[in-house]
């Protein structure tokens, strides 16, 4: 059975590195597990350029002209929002390999959209409780001013205050326009908080962590955040400034399990670098597809249906899909970035148990058997 897969990822623009990382993971899984299924896969690859209209055009092309059976990929939530109606209307299964906006598996959920990555609140919610448990009472938060930034911080704030903590100050910095965080750092310092909790990613994460350190804040005001802040993809550029930063994420390359060891070694051998959460998302997206085909699914409808109930043990631990939202259920890891032998590495401080997101207004037909 030949299955045509559309890989819709950014290969140029600010997220090109993520697109490459996800694709590398995706290919690795096809290589490792492709033999387990009778299906063969034909890949059609399109660059979203991180522009929603462009991505939508490419998605339409895949669906209407290339006639793909399934689409995988999508890094930015804006792109996911743009293609959502299209894939839903056309009934093409979509495996989301990054974009984390809560609505995609909430109010805007679709039986055709399965997310193998994370949702914004999923990775931040547990940290609120955990930090309060560590005795932190007052927190100052910072994040870029866009939908994802707000969702991440909101999820953290909700659980942190529910646990009894207090957010003493909150600032959202202009998205992709802020390079100098000095002004905000001075604000944070003056806020009287015990710690700072942030979400930043990519170039912004590097600038932020380095500047945080240069102002000497790390000692008096420990830095916590969503794990993207110290992703293995960027942490080496951050250098010593990242040491001691504590963050939470659904994947850390140092998770101690055979599945992860196998993955991490193979990935390093193929790409010469430690895999990041993005790589594992691509890897598991392909895994999920393979698992789905193992049930005999081969066309759009049956693949969509089968994807909703895949379940396997991956590098991040046991994964399953929540049938009421189609979001992945996975454990969350709290880790500290520490100096390793020749580069920075991640020390897992806690594994927080897997939890399904609240339904958040998602209404869809149940999985048919």
């Amino acid at each position: 059975e030949d299955i045509k897969v559309g890989l819709l990822l950014p290969f140029s623009g600010v997220y090109a590195a993520l697109g490459n990382e996800i694709e590398a993971g995706f290919n690795l899984a096809l290589e490792q597990f492709g033999g387990e299924t009778d299906a063969t896969f034909e890949i059609v690859r399109e660059d979203t350029e991180v522009k929603p209209p462009v991505a939508l055009g490419k998605a339409k092309k895949m669906i209407l002209q290339d006639d793909v059976d399934v689409i995988a990929g999508i890094v930015s939530s804006g792109v996911l929002g743009a293609v959502r109606d299209m894939v839903h209307g056309a009934g093409v299964p979509l495996i989301v390999a990054n974009a984390g906006n809560d609505e995609a598996t909430g109010a805007d959920c679709s039986p055709f959209i399965t997310r193998m990555s994370f949702s914004n609140s999923q990775v931040n919610r547990p940290m609120g409780m955990w930090m309060h448990e560590q005795g932190i009472g007052k927190v100052y938060t910072l994040a870029p001013d866009y939908a994802a930034g707000r969702q991440m911080i909101d999820a953290f704030t909700a659980s942190f205050t529910a646990a009894g903590g207090e957010v003493v100050g909150q600032e959202f910095t202009p998205f992709q326009k802020t390079q100098d965080f000095g002004p905000y750092l001075a604000q944070a310092k003056a806020s009287g908080a015990d710690a700072v909790y942030v979400f930043y990613a990519g170039g912004e994460a590097i600038s932020f962590v380095k500047q945080y350190d240069s102002f000497g804040l790390k000692a008096e005001l420990p830095l916590y955040g969503s794990g993207f802040l110290t992703s293995p993809l960027y942490v080496n550029a951050e250098g010593p400034a990242a040491e001691g930063v504590i963050t939470a994420l659904h994947y850390v390359p140092t998770i101690d399990s055979p599945a992860n060891a196998a993955f991490a070694d193979a990935f390093e051998a193929a790409n010469g670098r430690v895999p990041s959460e993005f790589a594992v998302q691509g890897y598991d997206a392909a895994r999920a597809l393979i698992e789905a085909t193992k049930t005999g699914a081969s066309d759009r409808a049956s693949l969509a249906n089968a994807l909703r109930s895949v379940k396997f043990e991956g590098p991040r631990g046991p994964l399953s899909i929540d049938p009421s939202t189609n979001n992945v259920i996975q454990p969350i890891y709290v880790y500290e970035t520490v100096a390793g032998e020749d580069s920075l590495t991640q020390k897992v401080l806690a594994q927080l148990s897997a939890e399904a997101d609240p339904v958040n207004g998602c209404e869809m037909a149940p999985v048919s058997n």
Binding site: D47, P52, L56, G57, S77, G78, G81, D85, Y146, A147
Partner: protein
Amino acid sequence: MFRHNTLRYAVLVLLASAALFQAFTAEYFGLEILTEILILAMLVLALDIVAGFGGMVSLCHGALMGVGAYAYALLSTTAGIAPPVAMVGAVALTGAIAWAIGAICSRSHGIYFIMATLAFGQMAYSYVFEAPIFGGDDGLGGIARLDLSFVGIDLNDSRSFALFCLVVLGAIYGVSVLILRSGLGRSLTGVMHNEQRMRALGLTVWRVKADVFGLSGMIAGLAGVLAAQHIMYISPGLLSWTVSGEALVVVILGGLGTLVGPLVGAAAFVVLKHELSAVTTYWHLVVGVILIAVVMSRANGIFGWIEARWGDRIERRLSDTTRKPEAKEVLGDA
């Protein structure tokens, strides 16, 4: 002042035939590309009117297009107004905003004008990006196309929509030519060449600039409305300055102040971009090199180059009688 010559007519006919051929033969993605070209062509026509004939090089036309798109989306979805009325409303609103920007910026020139328009464009962008009713970074979806079923046309079909855009573009082109050839168009050219003198002759310069900018804004707004209907989804990226920048590049690439040239530029740019991005993710590099090459050929864009090479020759062969007397015959006869 704008003039048609044989070459320009020839290129127009060629472009129109190519578009029609594509519209009737292409598959789905080919039609998408055609529509993309047609909508970009509307935007660059709007820009060429102000930049090529009035010296008002605008970096807010992308934002104006975005305003048209968002206005249409909000009017037709949130406010529930019928699409035709929403279209008119969106175009009128964009025109009014453009008129105001033109009036406010009318005292600036050159790079200052560019930056002043950029400022307004970026303000619109930031506002749309941050205000909740616009859906922020995630954009707005579920936008309906115009319903022409009462004449038996289903615009939800890609082919019909492409043809519809072609007709609209043709109309816009015709109107642009009329405007440029009118008294207002001539005054605009006068203002571009010597604003001080136009004022001394009694012209209210800022009004002329604002009026033309407003008209151009209406065209950009219409392009935005059609873009929203085409993709049926909009996001703030539509208003970003890079869209304006790209439009400007297309206008210059095609041939500033030739009206026909920007159409050629739009087609060339979109096709190039799609062909190249299918081959390599480094397509910017190739496009960049091509842009440089075009400029190094020392012509006014692609079309200017064609015109410089063949325009005169064709003209001369066709109409030997209307030849202008050469300068040296004139010289010294006084």
